[in-house]
């Protein structure tokens, strides 16, 4: 560990978290894979060898080759270029929708948990009602109300994942609320808002970070499902789900059309899930003690 010398400069808690994370090879690999996906998505216009909508009918349904790494689709478009550009779309939708769910959900959950009483009861019943709908069904209903498109997709997925953040934030707030340092702050007359900002929020970040990583995985799956149904990202913009829908008609002629976009979803979702699991092991205190006690046995 070469980091020992720098340890004094940083709060030891945070440093040890990163160090524990770095000792888990699965977490490291998934973080590296995700970083690669993000870099490719950001540099998509430069990485993609062909235009996403460059139609070349003469070369339609070509299997993977040196010229077309992932082959071509029924219009002769380069699948590698489309998968790369779709990564950007997918990540963008996932990040924006999870950010929405995070902000709204955490605000609702923290207020609910901290204030308690009637406010808590009402907010949590609303959350219960939202939990009564399966995720994709609720997203579809929202898309049915609004016009399908990128903004609607982001909003629909954002709304659907808000309740889970509200529950996680509320549960964490409840456990922090009665900690001595919060009670001391309250007796000293510190205002509710600054107790929330200075004491509660910083102490519930662990479970929220874990939830964020897992939600990003689910958001990518949801976007792919919506786009597959033709109700998410609209063509001609490329999306992994939309590409899979198009591939359905060519399953027997062009396996590559269904394999590569699906594999892109799979790898990205898997990386977010594994990272989330790795983060949970380190950041979620209850889980952490469990792991440590097991390691000791």
């Amino acid at each position: 560990m070469s980091a020992t010398t720098e340890q004094t400069a940083e709060p030891t808690g945070r440093l040890s978290t990163v160090r524990v994370l770095a000792t888990n090879p699965v977490t490291v690999v998934s973080a590296v894979v995700l970083a690669a996906v993000v870099v490719v998505a950001l540099l998509a216009p430069w990485v993609a060898p062909y235009g996403v909508n460059a139609v070349d009918v003469a070369n339609a349904l070509q299997p993977p080759s040196a010229a077309h790494w992932f082959g071509t689709d029924d219009l002769g478009r380069d699948l590698f270029s489309r998968v790369v550009v779709a990564a950007r779309v997918s990540l963008q939708v996932a990040v924006v929708s999870v950010a929405f769910a995070f902000v709204v959900g955490v605000a609702v959950g923290v207020v609910s948990g901290y204030v308690g009483g009637v406010v808590d009861t009402v907010l949590m019943r609303v959350v219960d009602v939202m939990f009564a709908f399966p995720v994709l069904l609720l997203a579809l209903a929202i898309v049915a109300i609004l016009q399908p498109g990128m903004a609607t997709t982001m909003l629909a997925i954002g709304i659907v994942y808000t309740p889970i953040f509200a529950r996680v934030a509320r549960a964490s707030t409840l456990s922090v609320r009665n900690e001595p340092y919060v009670q001391v702050a309250r007796t000293m007359g510190v205002s509710g808002r600054s107790i929330l900002g200075r004491h509660v929020l910083p102490n519930i970040t662990g479970p929220l970070i874990v939830q964020t990583s897992l939600s990003l995985a689910f958001a990518i799956l949801s976007e792919a499902a919506l786009s597959f149904l033709g109700l998410g990202i609209q063509p001609p913009a490329p999306s992994w789900g939309g590409m899979l829908f198009a591939a359905q008609g060519f399953l027997s002629q062009a396996w590559w059309m269904s394999v590569f976009p699906g594999a892109a979803i799979f790898v990205t979702v898997l990386a977010f899930n594994l990272l989330g699991d790795g983060l949970r092991d380190v950041l979620d205190p209850k889980q952490r003690t469990l792991i440590e006690s097991r390691r000791r046995r």
């Binding site: 792919a224 149904l229 898997l270």
Partner: protein, 321 residues
């Protein structure tokens, strides 16, 4: 300590009240669905078939010409008696259309949960009892992979393998089980496997941790230290107590499948509720969307209620706080 019948009754009463409150919220949300549509939902639903007469007739039939409060009360009243109005598209009763589609979805969900249990129960228990060994690692990795696979992609890969390449099973279509058991079985195999494999991945992880948790309990340690044979400890103490969480996850998964098979039904052209939701959204048939969303949400609520009730009855340790 066993619960007194009064305690159980009190718990059931509270749980029922909670479900009723959530159901009311669900009704409000489903009712608002049509109101929230920007523009005129009837005009949108009629599309190119628009005539003033058709418009007036549908508007009066759907009750959308009345004040909001009155509309809501009449909607709830009708819904509670099973009347969900008529489809904006076909003019047929929504309830009748839903009931026609229900058997296909229920049969697919039951096959899916059956396959999931057949895989997840042995895999989860084995994994927990062999914690840290190679077989545990293989099961954990496989289930992690399964959790990350989009179900519709899994379906396409299964079609690619079993239909297109091997020619063993049909890739789409549906025959009611009452008409032709063999034909139904051949057609439900691939969609059932798709649903089942994804659910199995989630359930395996859950069952593994449930068994591990029970195995770390003090009464298991006591049983072990009494010198009971490992098989007896596992059978009598660990598995029996792990049954409750298994029941819970199976119920939750069944509810999830019933509401989440939309994409799988589209991939396999399976004429169930999910396919109906999809078609209704595409056709902007709002009364149909309302009806199917309500039915699925109610099934979801009922199964969760049932799971909680069973949980309370099976597990004497449940805290009725």
């Amino acid at each position: 300590m066993r619960l007194s019948p009064r305690q159980v009754a009190a718990f059931l009463g509270r749980r029922l009240l909670f479900s009723a409150v959530v159901l009311l919220g669900v009704l409000v949300l489903v009712f608002l669905l049509v109101q929230l549509v920007p523009g005129d939902p009837i005009r949108l639903a009629l599309g190119t078939r628009y005539t003033q007469e058709a418009y007036d007739a549908l508007r009066a039939a759907s009750g959308l010409d009345r004040p909001l409060g009155e509309q809501f009360l009449s909607y709830v009243g009708s819904a509670l008696t099973g009347d969900l109005g008529v489809s904006f598209r076909s003019g047929e009763p929504v309830t009748q259309l839903l009931l026609q589609r229900l058997p296909a979805t229920v049969s697919l969900a039951l096959v899916g949960i059956g396959i999931a249990l057949l895989i997840a129960v042995p895999a989860g228990i084995w994994s927990a009892l062999h914690e840290g060994r190679v077989s545990d690692a293989i099961i954990r990795v496989t289930s992690q992979l399964g959790v990350s696979v989009p179900d519709f992609w899994m379906g396409m890969l299964l079609i690619l393998l079993f239909s297109t390449t091997l020619g063993l099973l049909p890739s789409s279509g549906y025959v009611p089980i009452t008409e032709d058991v063999g034909g139904w079985a051949r057609r439900v195999a691939l969609p059932g496997l798709t649903v089942g494999l994804v659910a199995a991945a989630i359930m395996t992880r859950y069952i593994r941790s449930a068994v591990l948790e029970v195995a770390s309990m003090s009464y298991v340690r006591t049983a072990r230290s009494k010198g009971l044979p490992a098989g007896v400890v596992v059978g009598r103490h660990v598995l029996r107590n792990a049954l409750v969480p298994v029941l819970t996850i199976a119920g939750i998964q069944l509810a999830t499948i019933l509401g989440g098979v939309i994409v799988v039904e589209v991939v396999f052209a399976w004429p169930g509720l999910g396919r109906l939701v999809y078609d209704s959204v595409a056709a902007r048939d709002y009364s149909m969307i309302q009806g199917s969303v309500l039915l699925i949400a109610v099934m979801f609520l009922l199964i969760n209620l049932l799971v909680d009730v069973l949980y309370a009855l099976v597990d004497p340790r449940i805290r009725l706080a």
